[in-house]
Subunit: 419 residues, 2 copies
């Protein structure tokens, strides 16, 4: 890998591409129909009236392969994950049908009329809210990603997993969430000065509970009721979930039924035996809430192929950081020897997916494509080598190293470890 | 209506509301469960494992009433519209299943492998593109609304229609569209200097065609392939549609199969006998492409009810303009005698839905709620009176007057004409 030579000339800056397209100085493949006229007969679907209107639409039957990929425990099928097919999506919004899932004991079928949220513990005025009462509170929207702490954890394996981009890194999705700033509800309950933590519990059959610093709930946390405009989906917490922008998925408790204010964390199963990180010295890191900056080239990526004709390809992908806005994404075609800035698609939002794009003139050579994100705090996404040096070889959570796609001379794409 | 007296004190500015909630100086209804403890038995859904994972999710069964409302021609069921239930949605994104529909002869079931886009007419190099070739071009995303020219046209009737907000004004939706800037494809075809218009044709059984100024296609037009992240839905033009930000729906041609460059408009059915506006002097206005600034209070609105206890309600709604960003939304509770600025939810995007919010302390009195949008060009949404004075009583398209919701002392909500 290291001895292949690549230069920045492989990449076409936006201006150069525009001019190349206009003047023909770069031989952009033009897939011209030799006839350049429509066939004599109209296609079948123009000769008969089309389908009728629908109350709630669905994707085309031709897109049935674009699905969440399910990986569940055969003995307990409600325990596992399903992955967002990031490699097949574009833009930044994850449509609701494809938002990733992580359940510990399945998706509860909650009757919203019988669901309440209780705020109690270290408060002067314990409060209980039903849906109808919550609808009287001010709501705000914010677009942000939610990422499972276990996303991309196949990266800890000795050999690179040969899964499509979304099916290795798609335990992250991005949506416009709308709900009530939790600060309003907590302050109405009159928080006692001794309260420092909040134990959040979900109304699923796992009764999943976890400890969250009160400070975060008073900052930008939402009690989300809507996801991309409509009521939140069952698998995303219907009728209500916590949304903690930038903090790992498990803290964004779904089917939220209780917030109990305490002076200390509860040391629940999911913050002790799970969702902690074994370090090189044998100690475990706990309460690592924030998803650090990360990026992923979604196209070209494994499972696609560059046709055998060299030419211009659009490198595109996603970057995100739990600490704020993405400030820069660099792309390399030579395994990290040289880098060029990709274009960031605006508006660049805080703690949200940012799409990056960079045209690439592939000349049929061997290449290793990588992307490297930097966030507004200056944090730079690490190489796999650096991540392992820092965190050891036996990690499981919070893997955010640079991902490398190998392009062979034939245009095949494989996952490799760049370092 | 006119003799009721209302003052600005009815509205609570954001700061005041926050402090009221924290100190209890305003008697916010607190819907406290008298027990304040969970019942002895867990709800049914916590006692059995939940549902398994799904490849593509759907809304909760409890939300089956949140649908597009279909209004089609019984004799030609593919001709008509379906309305987005704006009154039941929150935030700014319209989920794909609920994006409004307007079809002239149904939804064609297109095989994407057999669909091509032809660019011909006044170009030096006619071009034909299939899906595979289009995937090689640079894409951009933009969030914008699309609004049917006939949206809200019940406003021309003599008596106010008693339909829910979305079912009278929901031929408008807002999505993140991703696709190829049309400028790139048109310039690759080498436009002849004599080309001034483009005739766009769809691959539906209506073979809908319409004339668009070339200038717009070289500005911000997209050949959209993705809608809120996933491939565009069949009823929204699968596999590709024109998106012309801010221009009326019919020009955003779905199932796009041809762009023919010409020196003059084609005078098609849908730009002569339809989608024109009869003016008071008997002449018709043609080629009115832009959706002017408009707003709508989505809650409270017809079909909801204010409970019989007065208190704080959140007024919320949507505003949009085909000429740019929304700069201001004012709200009145007294039929337009006094106005207060609502808070605009950021980020405020160009030619996209902007949500506005204003808390309102309803004291049980008769009220008429209205919203009035101003866009960045300074254009102010007109009263119905002003619109009719300017455009006459026999219009059908481009109705954008202020909408008035009457609140009775009982908390019932009706649609009224404010003027």
């Amino acid at each position: 890998m290291k001895d292949t030579v690549h230069s920045r000339r492989q990449f076409l800056q936006k201006a150069a591409l525009g001019s190349a397209l206009a003047t023909g100085t770069v031989s952009l493949p033009v897939w011209t129909n030799p006839e350049l006229e429509f066939p004599d007969t109209l296609p079948e679907w123009m000769r008969v009236p089309g389908d009728e209107f629908s109350n709630y639409g669905q994707p085309s039957a031709h897109e049935q392969g674009i699905i969440r990929w399910i990986s569940a425990n055969p003995a307990a099928p409600g325990n596992g994950v399903s992955w967002t097919p990031l490699h097949a999506l574009q833009g930044t919004i994850t449509p609701n049908g494809l938002h990733y899932e992580r359940h510990h004991n399945g998706v509860p079928q909650i009757n919203p009329d019988q669901h309440t949220l209780l705020i109690d513990g270290l408060v002067d005025k314990p409060l209980s809210f039903d849906l109808k009462s919550l609808m009287r509170y001010p709501m705000v929207s914010r677009t942000c990603f939610i990422e499972c702490g276990g996303n991309s954890n196949s990266g800890w394996r000795s050999n690179p997993i040969q899964s499509k981009a979304g099916y290795a890194h798609g335990l992250v999705s991005n949506a416009e969430w709308t709900g009530i700033p939790l600060k309003l509800l907590l302050e109405e309950a009159c928080i006692k000065p001794s309260a420092k933590w909040v134990i959040a519990e979900g109304a699923d059959a796992a009764a999943l509970n976890i400890s969250i610093p009160l400070e975060k709930l008073l900052d930008d946390a939402l009690l989300a009721l809507y996801q991309n405009g409509e009521r939140i989906r069952p698998e995303n917490g219907y009728p209500m979930r916590l949304v903690l922008p930038g903090w790992e998925g498990i803290l964004n408790v779904k089917w939220l039924r209780q917030l109990r204010l305490t002076d200390a964390p509860i040391m629940s199963r999911d913050e002790t035996s799970q969702y902690t990180e074994l370090l090189p010295d044998g100690k475990a890191r706990q309460f690592t809430f924030i998803n650090e900056a990360k990026s992923l080239i979604t196209s070209p990526s494994l499972g696609m192929m560059l046709p055998d004709n060299p030419g211009i390809y659009q490198i595109t992908g996603l970057a995100w950081s739990g600490r704020g806005k993405i400030s820069r994404v660099e792309v390399s075609a030579d395994g990290g020897d040289s880098w060029l800035d990709a274009e960031l698609q605006g508006p660049v939002l805080d703690k949200a997916f940012t799409r990056f794009n960079l045209p690439w003139h592939w000349q049929g050579e061997y290449a290793i494509l990588q992307s490297r994100a930097t966030d507004e705090t200056g944090y730079v996404q690490p190489t796999r080598e650096a991540l392992i040096e820092n965190r050891g070889k036996h990690g499981f959570y919070h893997y955010n190293a640079i991902v490398s796609w190998e392009i062979t001379e034939d245009g095949d794409i494989n996952h490799v470890y760049g370092f």
